[in-house]
Symmetry: C2
Subunit: 649 residues, 2 copies
């Protein structure tokens, strides 16, 4: 109450309503070490209803994490560790950034999947080195969001027995009573998903304790405990009212509430010693828990030294191999291959040595070529299958990838059609914000997919993802670029990577010393240079259109125009190069520039300048064989040649 | 089979598996007039599983719509009326574009909402002029998508008794058996949503007929009929197999299938006369049905002439009033108002005269100011409430808006925070593709929202939506621009409009003859000119940052620099102006240009050129009071002044 009041903004109602549940969970069940929030085998706790951030900040402070009372007093202020919504990487003990509803719910599923896989992979009869729960507090809003459906249905299907969600059923949302919009039956709904469902009084400690125990005992189903609570619990005038949801209670009401608890109404940020003592026992308990785990790890290390090293490498994100040596080399080939096909080959060349690559797709395994051959299906062929069938649940998949990446131990990737990044977008954004290395394999990346037509043809997607901070968008121009795109993706640890791949075949280019495919990692490079020190023009292509630029170069040469071709698979990597390299690839003196990319031309001004031209498509596509579409939309070699000639300076 | 084979791509399995259900629905129940697909009181039919497009094309051809056998033979070819997925506006009788799964499911809910509202508004005891069902064929994939949860939960809550969905439960998805990923219990799930649920053999005509009759009888709940079907029904070797899902059956298999039906295996595109006769009865039935409705309308017109005119205006999209006369005029005011607040005032000034404005929000009514005061809550205060409580279901809301816009009769708008356009994106894209005039009221449009922090602060959203074809993104710069933004939105009939509004107060500018607020409709205009015929520089602002440009203009004037300020609320409208106007506002000779917008600078090169500068934010935001954030990120008057001076040419 005090922190929200001091900030004069925030959400007091939920922290007050769920304080009882959180108290029981955090003091009687949660396995964690406040002095080492990074301890690998800790239980994961997610506050999916992130607007109630003061709840988790209170818990972290009370149980002895590195979050001082000063920080609590600086709630929602610049540079504090107590942002409006919990921020991963900012506050010790916060497992993920939450706020956009449903994301915590769905990300927890990924964490529990990682736990299940790692336990299956490493645990022995006497060494349960991976053995923890994933808890979340979820809200009415989480349950209304569609992603909660995808995630819950998937979790039930995968029988994630160590997933335990505590649902704050307080019957109040921002607009008022949930009856205004939300009258579904959560018991039936979650039973339909094959969850273990309990319904309790969320202010009765014995019921809470009993319910969590039951949830733990049910090992073959995820659990949801429907906690009937009172929002703003304890506030004499605002309890059970939407007015306690998203605004400070007001100084008078806070005093009245404190009086009810028998506290000094004038004292702010007061923590009764007898309460603190109970919470702070978590420090010793956590220390003992980690020590005990360390003992098991020690014994594990002795008995299974190789497995122990693997475990350690996986959990620390260290690659035990030189990826470059594993990458296939594709021979130059005019017919070439689809980059989605090349991606499948690369993945299967990597999978044995990088055995924590963990794949899957949203019901498009054959199309997006994510299958790790010979590996099982996760949850169906035992816990150690590395191919996940996510179903047609793109959003749920994206959040699950984030959850696995946050959990640690795995290199998670998942595939669907590029156009469906729209369905994944809130989770991609969260990965970017959290700096989570989720890998998205997005195929069928343009009108090049042909007959399926405009609903399936991405147009604006490249630009709209490039506009998002901290996302690597890589659209490789041939099979060898695909190999290094995968290397870049796996090595990129500070944010998500989106691999943008073709359905259709494209040529594999000749490679030599001057255009080695590892240059892919620079984001852009000279694929084929002009004979002149200052080229007559620069053609920039990405993905399937690099080939058009290469053909145009030949045709222009016949006309006496000697141009450079730059392949630009990744804007973000290129922008991170030093200015010398950027100037070398794109000398500012060359104004005759043409970019060609089968997508929106929006934004290409950055590279072609005011005087250059971007060839692309600024309308939706059409349903037809792809060769005809390229002609119809004027994304052709002929067009590139024409434009270069037309804008000859 | 033949069409998919000829195209050598497509999805034969679903059309074959659902042929029985579709036959019964289309010949025994569907109220439609093949010779007038626009008949207002027709039942709406949606093929949510749009990949099975050959099913609806077959039905349309067979029942006598303007879709020739030649078109069927041109399936998936350039310029045909038989695109890979059904396209609204391309094929007569196709009520919406489908393909991205879940969209049809959720859009149908909007259609049924429109029907319910209009019926409540216009029907009398003896004149049921609005009285039709919304049917959809939905698939496993639709049910896996999160949006189906949002839409189903909302539809159950709203008791949409005339919504009848036929679920093609064929147990096969692209990857194989649905058991791979999808094992939830649909009966329990839809009962949890308060739907009427039946389960039948989808090949038994009596059961199908009976189920649809039961569904019609249940008037207080939406209905789902779980039709257990065999994908690729009739194909001796591919029935019940994923191989029939997304690829042609193969010529041999087609012959074998035809033999089973006792048809000439060599004959392609053959329609037995006795089948055609049955289907073509729909022409006479449809004609009779519309005539009978016309009689009722005639009588309605006589007895309720004013209501009849209103009905006709609503359904034809004609406005009976001059919006301009209704718009409020906001006095110049340095303190000003939040543009979300101005939007709420405009809406309430319009609502009485434009009484088919139909609003709502995703549980943020108070924040996004969408409430139409004095109007009821739809579905709670009777059918004619004009404020919808969508719950925390942004995606479902967006699709519902599309459904209402497609249905006709209403001017639907819905609100949430701008950052949550990410959740709505697949539906916004579909609105753009279908040219559907859905209106999105998106507030809290930048770091200007302050303490809620980066999860709630849009950064890339303006650019990522501007990159989408056919979307009007309008970010008004003061209260008077808001008024004309609403005018533009309501008058825009060929695509969605997104109104991007502030949480925080911004000044209301002085207006005169030279900068009348109706210029908003031009997308960009000179808000405050330089005294010079060729300005020293041009400052371009949008939304809450126009004010910074105005302040900078003053400061620069003191330094002897005389600049022009251009307010640019809408790129798309501006790009549609003739080149003379564009050149007048942004003379190409003026290279010293600065744009200021509290969002990604990505793409601003289009207007500031290679030599200008965009001031914005290319990282995620922070949690703090907004004034501090503007300073922290350098989006200030001071910065604008500095940049103009630095790049003085």
């Amino acid at each position: 109450m005090d922190a929200v009041q001091k900030a004069n903004s925030g959400h007091p109602g939920m922290p007050m309503g769920m304080a009882d549940v959180a108290f029981v969970l955090w003091t009687k069940f949660l396995k964690h070490n406040p002095k080492n929030p990074e301890w690998i085998d800790r239980d994961r706790f997610i506050l999916s209803a992130g607007h109630g951030s003061m709840l988790i900040y209170s818990l972290l402070h009370l149980t002895g994490y590195d979050l001082s009372l000063e920080e609590i007093k600086n709630f929602r202020q610049m540079g504090s560790k107590t942002a409006g919504h919990p921020e991963y990487g900012v506050t010790p003990g916060v497992e993920m950034t939450t706020g956009p509803l449903g994301q915590g719910f769905a990300t927890g599923v990924g964490m529990a999947m990682a736990e299940q896989f790692l336990a299956g992979k490493f645990n022995t009869e006497s060494h349960k080195i991976v053995n923890h729960y994933t808890y979340a507090i979820v809200s009415d809003g989480d349950l209304m969001e569609g992603i909660s459906h995808e995630a819950a249905s998937l979790a039930g299907h995968l029988k994630l027995g160590k997933l335990i969600y505590l649902y704050d059923a307080n019957s109040i949302s921002i607009d008022g009573s949930t009856d205004l919009a939300f009258t579904e039956d959560p018991v039936k709904r979650f039973e339909a998903y094959n969850w273990h469902v309990q319904e309790i009084d969320g202010h009765n400690h014995a019921e809470i304790e009993n319910a969590i125990q039951n949830a733990q005992k049910e090992t073959s189903k995820p659990s949801i405990v429907i906690c009937r609570t009172h929002i703003g619990f304890g506030s004499p005038n605002k309890q059970d009212s939407a007015s306690s949801h998203g605004s400070p209670l007001g100084e008078e009401e806070i005093k009245l509430t404190k009086e009810i608890y028998g506290w000094d109404p004038e004292r702010q940020f007061f923590i009764p010693e007898e309460a603190l003592v109970v919470f702070r026992q978590e420090i010793a308990k956590g220390d003992a828990a980690e020590k005990s785990w360390n003992d098991v790890m020690g014994s594990f290390r002795k008995e299974h030294p190789e497995k122990a090293i693997t475990f350690q490498n996986w959990m620390s994100g260290k690659l035990a191999v030189d990826i470059e040596k594993l990458l296939p080399v594709f021979e130059a080939d005019a017919k070439g291959t689809a980059t989605r096909g090349a991606s499948g080959i690369v993945l299967n060349d990597l999978k044995d040595e990088i055995d924590n690559l963990f794949g899957g797709s949203a019901d498009l395994e054959g199309s997006v070529k994510t299958n790790l051959k010979g590996e099982g299906r996760f949850g169906l062929d035992g816990a150690t299958g590395r191919n996940v069938h996510y179903g047609v649940r793109e959003h749920g998949m994206a959040a699950a990838l984030n959850g696995m990446a946050l959990h640690g131990g795995l290199i998670p990737f998942g595939g669907t059609f590029f156009v469906f990044t729209d369905y994944c977008r809130p989770s991609i954004r969260l990965a970017a914000l959290m700096k989570t290395p989720s890998i998205f394999v997005m195929t069928h990346d343009s009108i090049g997919l042909g007959e399926d037509g405009p609903t399936h043809q991405p147009v604006e997607h490249l630009m709209s993802l490039r506009a998002m901070p901290n996302v690597l968008v890589i659209r490789p121009g041939d099979a060898n670029e695909v190999a290094y795109a995968w290397k870049a993706a796996i090595e990129h640890k500070t944010g998500p990577t989106i691999l943008v791949l073709t359905r259709q075949n494209i040529p594999t280019f000749e490679r030599g010393e001057h255009n080695k495919p590892e240059l892919t990692q620079k984001g852009a490079y000279i694929l084929s240079d002009s004979g002149k020190s200052i080229p007559d023009a620069i053609l920039i292509g990405t993905g399937s259109e690099v080939y058009l630029a290469m053909e145009a170069q030949k045709e222009l040469k016949e006309k006496g125009i000697d141009v450079r071709v730059v392949s630009m698979p990744c804007w973000e990597l290129f922008e991170n190069q030093d200015s010398t390299y950027i100037e070398k690839v794109l000398p500012s003196s060359v104004k005759n520039r043409v970019a060609v990319e089968a997508g929106s031309t929006f934004g290409w001004e950055r590279w072609v300048g005011s005087e250059g031209t971007a060839i692309g498509i600024d309308t939706f596509g059409e349903s037809a064989p792809y060769q005809e579409l390229y002609k119809h939309f004027g994304i052709t070699t002929k067009k590139v040649v024409e434009v270069v000639l037309a804008q000859k300076f």
